[in-house]
């Protein structure tokens, strides 16, 4: 039990430490594709350091919601990290506390408070971005649900550790259309939820076009740092769900010794690096969609997930 909790702490540390690095690597790759040099991959760490050492300015018009939001945004991905397989392929201490739906709820909670805090400030750009994120959010919600339903049909469970075994044990299962369609729709979800390019431009600096970024405009100092770090952790957690549970559950530690758990870290990093290259390829070859085309993008994700469910119910049975 003690050991299991210790491994959970290692998982959380992994997410905490490597989340900024991941976003640094992503933006560096993108700059390279655009024939620019780009900032160092360690720039996000420096940004966080700088923000933590700055004074925080909070408008006197805001309420307690504005104050607790950065902490919520920072903490929820950590909770999710205790529920999903980040480094080990056997369930750890808190794994049975909640399933993938719970992970979705945690992330939705952070999104909800983020939107409230943006409205709280009275800055005109905040509510605009908040309403847009909500639009993307409620379009993405049904896809999330259908994906989880399909997963539970196929694997008879929504606990990520059990789902992941489904694809490891059965190689023929890996190529089943239900699985492939699930992957397609979940990838589209990650792009939408992470604010990546066909839906939102993470490196855009034009307030009118922002979706996800404009929610954080009013935060400064420690609040801004926590919001930033939380966003980066959310993205790496989503990537971990996608890679370790759905796409490629290999390279995870299967032994119970500390050495094996530590040795799994480079493998996971390698997987995430490959995923980053794929993401950059997707982002660089597409342009940002017009706002009202986003419903079509997520509609396509919905169709893919429902098709996965049809195939898994009718064909699989």
């Amino acid at each position: 039990m003690k050991q299991s909790i210790a491994y959970n702490v290692i998982q959380i540390l992994f997410v905490l430490v490597f989340a900024p690095l991941y976003s640094g690597v992503l933006s560096r790759f993108k700059e390279i594709v655009q024939s620019k040099r780009g900032p160092s991959i360690f720039q996000p760490y420096r940004d966080l350091w700088k923000l933590f050492h700055k004074d925080e300015v909070v408008s006197s018009e805001t309420t307690w919601i504005f104050r607790i939001t950065p902490y919520l945004v920072f903490i929820t991905p950590i909770f999710v990290a205790t529920l999903i397989p980040v480094l080990t392929d056997y369930p750890l201490a808190f794994a049975f506390m909640g399933d993938m739906l719970a992970a979705g709820f945690f992330l939705a909670l952070a999104g909800f408070f983020g939107a409230l805090a943006a409205v709280d400030t009275g800055n005109p750009y905040g509510p605009m971005g908040a309403s847009r994120t909500r639009m993307v959010g409620f379009l993405a919600e049904p896809v999330f649900m259908i994906v989880f339903f399909t997963v539970s049909f196929v694997a008879q469970s929504t606990i990520p550790y059990i789902v992941q075994q489904q694809w490891v044990v059965n190689a023929a299962e890996f190529f089943s259309p239900a699985h492939v369609l699930l992957l397609i729709s979940f990838l589209m979800l990650i792009l939408a939820e992470g604010g990546r390019i066909p839906v939102d431009n993470p490196s855009g600096h034009f307030e009118l076009a922002m979706i996800d970024e404009s929610k954080g405009l009013e935060f400064s100092g420690r609040g801004a740092a926590l919001m930033k770090w939380g966003g980066q952790m959310k993205f790496i957690v989503l990537a971990c769900i996608f890679l370790n549970v759905l796409l490629a559950p290999w390279g995870l530690a299967d032994g119970h010794s500390a050495v094996q758990v530590i040795a799994a870290i480079p493998w996971i990093l390698l997987k995430i690096l490959i995923f980053a290259i794929v993401l950059v390829a997707i982002e660089s070859s597409l342009s940002k969609l017009r706002l009202f085309r986003i419903s079509e993008f997520l509609g396509a994700a919905f169709i893919a997930s429902v098709a996965a469910m049809i195939v898994s119910i009718f064909v699989g049975a």
Binding site: A172, E173, F175, P177, L181, I184, E296, I303, A307, V311
Partner: protein, 229 residues
């Protein structure tokens, strides 16, 4: 149940699923060129499905069938369309549809579910797992192709709708009647090419005389132009 499938069979299932996705994509695409591209992809996947079944179940005819599919639908039909249609027509965007795209996609989804429900009882009478996959998905493709025939207003996507229906029938056909005489399949492939030549030429001349290819705009009778007399 999945564990009972061989690798060839489960890859066939994957191909069949992707064929269905291509059918959805054809409904969702605005560009004529994009529709044609998805049709080519769908035909390639279809041929792959035929090859996998030929390999897995040792049916020699299916090798020939897959080859015929590739020649007719991947090479000849796109070439014919490109030759008969003007470039302006081929790259046109924003096809007007009777329903907007999300609604069309939802309807297509309902059609797919209806296909599963319709075929389910029939397929359950057969033990062959390939029938369970190909028959409902093939019928779904036929229905979705028929739907795009109704909803589209441009003639070329309508033609592709007909061809997509044929693709769906093919997908179902290779599962339930693999030993169909080759001559029948050859005839079908030849027919499909002829259809696309005829529709292509017709579209071109309609475009020349009336100035539009929107089937939805052709609602009123027009008097003969003076030049015809």
């Amino acid at each position: 149940m999945h564990s009972a499938l061989s690798v060839a069979q489960s890859l066939n299932t994957l191909c069949a699923g992707l064929v269905l996705i291509c059918a959805f994509a054809m409904v969702a695409t605005r560009q004529v060129q994009g529709v044609v591209r998805y049709f080519i992809t769908q035909s390639l996947l279809l041929a792959a499905s035929a090859f996998l079944l030929a390999f897995g179940e040792h049916i020699a005819d299916l090798w020939a069938l897959g080859a015929i599919t590739i020649i007719a639908k991947v090479i000849v039909i796109p070439w014919v369309l490109k030759r008969t249609l003007s470039r302006e027509l081929y790259i046109r965007r924003e096809i007007e549809q009777a329903l907007n795209i999300p609604a069309s996609l939802l309807l297509a989804l309902l059609l797919a579910i209806a296909a599963e429900l319709l075929v389910g009882p029939i397929a359950s009478a057969v033990t062959d797992p390939v029938v369970h996959v190909n028959l409902p998905l093939g019928l779904a493709c036929v229905l979705i192709g028929g739907y795009s025939l109704i909803a589209r207003r441009e003639s070329i996507p309508q033609l592709i709708g007909i061809l997509a229906m044929e693709n769906g029938a093919f997908l179902a056909g290779i599962a339930i009647a693999a030993e169909l005489p080759l001559i029948a399949e050859l005839t079908v492939a030849f027919n499909v090419i002829l259809i696309s030549v005829v529709i292509g030429v017709l579209t071109r001349s309609i475009k020349q005389t009336i100035g539009t290819t929107q089937a939805g705009a052709l609602t009123t009778l027009k008097e003969e132009p003076a030049s015809w007399r």
